[in-house]
């Protein structure tokens, strides 16, 4: 791979990172807190691409470099040998080593620009055990009216607080649908600490007036009440509380599909 191609890949990778960081696309893959770093690294990659083109262009004008700084010509010459991949001496090995592996950088570029894969959904959720952990404490809830809880919050209160703060209240929870091999429905939110590679599901089993047709990965806002019933996740024996639902309505995918409450 010569330098023009390298510059092109650097530029496209930088632009893809900027694009992902400036839209909500990056939230499908990494935590929200990484945004400034993504934007900065995207800008640096673009800068690296532009400087590559700039030095390449200056290198093409031998007169200019020669008159400016004749002493450095040997190094400059050397660069050329390396870049061309047919240079002399020990560069040869190196010039063949670098280009081959660098071509792989095209893959994430294509994946990010053309496919932009969705956030992890029911497939990963049902293969991984629920990651519910005992909360450090419970936020105070409003005394009256319906409660808006996250999947993690509901599951934590239901399992570890025995539903004390939520029993008898009307509860709204938003998550995506996942079905286990028997077809039993779960409402799931993936909790994430850094990137999707470490994302883990927290699951609520649904009972009550479950809609007759549920499509995996569709986002729902369900309304229901606490029930003492619990089950075990077959994957890791983790506790899964039930929610007795009275109604469910489809909602669009939230801008941040993951639960990041563990990051705070």
């Amino acid at each position: 791979m010569n330098r023009q191609a390298q510059a092109a890949i650097l530029f496209l990778t930088g632009a893809a990172l900027l694009h992902a960081g400036l839209t909500n696309l990056y939230l499908r893959y990494v935590k929200a807190g990484l945004q400034p770093l993504l934007l900065a690294s995207g800008a640096i990659l673009i800068l690296a691409s532009l400087t590559t083109v700039w030095y390449e262009w200056r290198g093409r004008k031998p007169k200019a470099t020669e008159t400016q700084d004749p002493n450095h010509n040997p190094n400059h010459e050397h660069e050329h040998a390396q870049e061309d991949g047919h240079g002399h001496g020990h560069d040869h090995e190196h010039a063949h080593r670098e280009p081959r592996i660098s071509w792989l950088l095209v893959l994430p570029l294509l994946a990010l620009i053309l496919v932009a894969p969705p956030a992890l959904g029911s497939y990963s959720a049902m293969r991984t055990g629920t990651a519910l952990q005992q909360p450090y404490g419970y936020n105070k809830l409003p005394a009256t009216g319906p409660l808006n809880l996250t999947v993690v919050d509901y599951a934590g209160r239901a399992v570890y607080d025995h539903g004390r703060s939520i029993a008898g209240r009307q509860i709204h929870v938003t998550g995506f649908v996942a079905l286990d091999h028997t077809g039993a429905p779960y409402l799931v939110r993936m909790a994430l600490n850094c990137c999707a590679a470490d994302a883990q599901p927290v699951k609520i089993a649904l009972t009550g007036k479950v809609p007759p047709v549920l499509e995996p990965d569709k986002w729902l806002e369900v309304t229901g009440t606490y029930t003492t019933r619990q089950t075990k996740d077959p994957v890791n024996n983790g506790p899964i509380p039930y929610l007795k639902i009275t109604s469910a309505k489809p909602v669009p995918t939230p801008s941040d599909p993951y639960d990041e409450s563990w990051n705070q």
Partner: protein
């Protein structure tokens, strides 16, 4: 990949020749004299790249269809996620490494580190605490340190300790184990211990010919700015390619391996430690996040989790690929198994004392 012995007939300089010795009397040749001769094979890559991008754009319908299976989608999401997460840290490491290589004179390290390698190893290991980031940043920086004349034993101790003992990672560990603050201390001590032992081990047993001393050539340039950006470009393209290999491996594991295997492994305490150590290698999670994953493996003992936290930042698939790229395959094949074994021993010993 061509083997190093395939060289043009005129290659007289040995592998470790300095760039200056290599470029033979270039003053007599205008710089562009050799470029046209070299062009035919070389000028194709922009064309190949353009054709590749064009054909993928034209075929994106069928490609998307083939990728719509849940397992493929999950694979791609993890693949992209590992890269998007690692790239900022790789760029940070590459910038630091370029700065070390171009702006910091070798004499600085000679003064900063004790001259006796046996002492330089723990000092460099402790210095790892100053590189805030994950393991992707430490590989290029360690490469630059070796190039700058730091004794390899010390640079390797730094390479191993930096991703595990910096404040960000230790804070994340404390947050992930709110009920076991001793995990933070155990992780710090075990990681530092293993890095130093690996450094000393290298000093005693390591041979310089195992280490392919990274080329110096791309740190030269008509000016410091050119050398800096040249180094950044080279390292991003180079280490980035290896990062892609590691991300593919990690995504494959995450998308395909059934999690129920872990439940079986957790039942025997010794198997549990080995299982989590292997898992740390295969998952290749960023060291800033691995504590949370360890915490969620509730059925495992604290010592097994400690092994996960000590092994992961030192050696995993993506690190192995990057180390092979930076220091050579011969080095990585020897260094990685030794690190893996020592990291487990270090974690078990520390766990026995502290946990």
């Amino acid at each position: 990949m061509k083997s190093p012995d395939v060289k043009p007939a005129d290659a007289k300089a040995p592998d470790n020749a300095t760039p200056a010795a290599d470029a033979k009397s270039p003053d007599k040749q205008p710089p562009d004299a050799q470029s046209p001769a070299a062009k035919p094979g070389d000028s194709k890559s922009p064309l190949v790249l353009t054709l590749l991008l064009l054909s993928v754009v034209l075929l994106q319908g069928p490609i998307r269809g083939a990728l719509s299976a849940p397992v493929m989608q999950s694979w791609m999401t993890v693949f992209v996620a590992v890269l998007v997460q690692a790239l900022p840290f790789l760029v940070l490491g590459v910038l630091l490494s370029a700065a070390i290589a171009v702006f910091v004179p070798p004499s600085f390290f000679a003064r900063a580190l004790p001259s006796r390698p046996a002492l330089a190893v723990p000092v460099a290991g402790m210095a790892g605490a100053m590189l805030p980031g994950c393991e992707c940043a430490s590989v290029p920086v360690a490469g630059a340190l070796v190039r700058r004349g730091v004794t390899p034993a010390a640079a390797l101790a730094f390479l191993l300790s930096a991703p595990a003992i910096n404040p960000i990672v230790l804070t994340a560990t404390a947050v992930a184990f709110p009920r076991n603050p001793e995990m933070v201390l155990a992780r710090f001590l075990a990681s530092l211990l293993v890095s130093c032992v690996m450094g000393w081990l290298w000093q005693r047993l390591g041979r310089t010919d195992w280490l392919r001393t990274p080329e110096r050539s791309h740190y030269e340039g008509p000016s410091k700015g050119a050398a800096f950006w040249n180094s950044v470009r080279h390292d991003v393209m180079h280490a980035g390619g290896f990062l892609v290999v590691g991300a593919m491996a990690a995504a494959t594991l995450k998308a395909l391996a059934p999690a129920s295997w872990l439940r079986t492994a957790a039942e025997n305490p010794l198997v549990a430690i080995l299982a989590l150590a292997v898992l740390a290698v295969l998952l290749s999670i960023c060291s800033e996040a691995d504590a949370f994953v360890a915490a969620s493996l509730t059925q495992f003992s604290l010592t097994a989790k400690l092994a996960f936290l000590v092994v992961g930042p030192m050696i995993d698939l993506k690190l192995f690929a990057m180390q092979a790229g930076t220091f050579g395959r011969g080095f990585a094949l020897r260094f990685a198994p030794a690190t893996f074994a020592l990291a487990i021993v270090g974690a078990v010993l520390t766990g026995a004392v502290l946990l």
